[in-house]
Symmetry: C2
Subunit: 235 residues, 2 copies
């Protein structure tokens, strides 16, 4: 096994009113399955480690695993408190022989093979690669008291998505260092940056949305419908 | 006249494939009309200054003005090169007696009376008030060469929307100062901040989306449909 995918799906989805975000119904299919489908079908990925909410671990292992039949899933992993704890738990299960790891949030079901490919190539070339898109809104920074301190230079800002692709040894080093220094982050690349290692920015996709609030499910369905139309038009 | 609204609608909408973004059809109504409808109906606003693309100014003045019949529109203003040039052009037309100005992008058609009210109150109280929402994505900053430099502290970031509400004298001073110092900005509050004046942050709405790419029109229609349902359920 050369390249592994860690699918982070341990969120409760509090903002979306669910008890297990990974199982939300998007167009008749569980949210997590979009990411699993992609990695299962892609020649770029050899094995999958799916991190799920502790309350549902047994159901995933016993019930869904058999029902869905993904052949590349190596392990269902018990998620931690924070996102980074979940990734750390999965990293413990990834075998030493793996040289490249793609970390992906199941909350981004609409990622494509094309984007994955560009990230894998860039990750191999640079050690760390993340998909980014331009920021549409003006972004301001608050101080600790909630007052607006300044406006950030929008042309220099990028919103970061997943999958984020890393050399396995670099990602392991970053997570060890984060544990020692107790760094809290919202994405894995931040830990690589904290090591002083460069992270390559790859052009992401505005269709690679993150499902956070109920409206995002409708947006996801719109994008799926549009893709279906595009495929029909090509046929 | 006490409170004026400046509706900025001079964009070409290049990313959305239109030649005049203000006239894009959202659910059977021109984009700009959603903002005009709100201000026309609101007791909070006494007069409207609509800034439109120079190529369409005559059509707005002659054709649409009569056809739409808004009574509060004081002037159709010729837009400038950048957004801030458009606002500056409108400011020249706002009478001295006006004490409060709401600057709003027509690209945000789904703003509500409730949000407008909270901003007007806060603007009166603090001199400057803007609607903000939490940032969902991790945001990174690039250097001039396009390399990722750092990850910004997401809990301290806010995406800023419009309408932004200002004391008229403060906004005029900010625009004079910006012209002298040749500051380029993406929102009006940045100019207030550049004066060293505090800007109050008011909780915005995730439904107050900015129409930028074609997908946003579909999102806008979804939100309108949901609002229609909510109104029906209340009846």
């Amino acid at each position: 096994m050369n390249t592994a995918a860690i699918v982070v799906a341990a969120g409760e989805g509090r903002r979306i009113g669910g008890c297990c975000k990974a199982l939300l119904d998007l167009n008749g299919r569980e949210l997590i399955r979009y990411s699993l489908d992609l990695f299962e079908a892609s020649e770029l990925i050899d094995g999958i480690f799916a991190v799920v909410h502790p309350d549902f671990l047994t159901r995933f292992e016993k019930e869904f695993a058999a029902q869905w039949g993904y052949r590349k899933i190596i392990a269902w992993v018990e998620g931690g408190e924070r996102r980074q704890d979940s990734v750390a738990a999965a990293l413990m299960r990834v075998p030493e022989e793996v040289s490249l790891i793609a970390v992906h949030d199941a909350a981004r079901p609409l990622v494509t093979e094309d984007l994955l490919r560009r990230l894998v190539y860039s990750g191999r070339a640079h050690g760390a690669a993340v998909p980014v898109v331009e920021v549409v809104d003006t972004i301001k920074e608050l101080d600790a008291a909630g007052r607006i301190v300044r406006t950030l230079p929008r042309e220099r800002l990028r919103a970061v998505q997943t999958p984020q692709v890393f050399e396995a040894s670099l990602l392991r080093r970053a997570y060890r260092s984060a544990a020692e220094r107790e760094i809290a982050v919202t994405d894995d690349a931040s830990l690589i940056e904290a090591l002083g290692h460069a992270v390559a920015a790859v052009e992401g996709s505005i269709e690679n949305i993150k499902i956070t609030v109920p409206e995002d499910m409708e947006r996801g369905e719109l994008i799926l419908r549009r893709r279906g139309l595009r495929i029909k038009q090509r046929q």
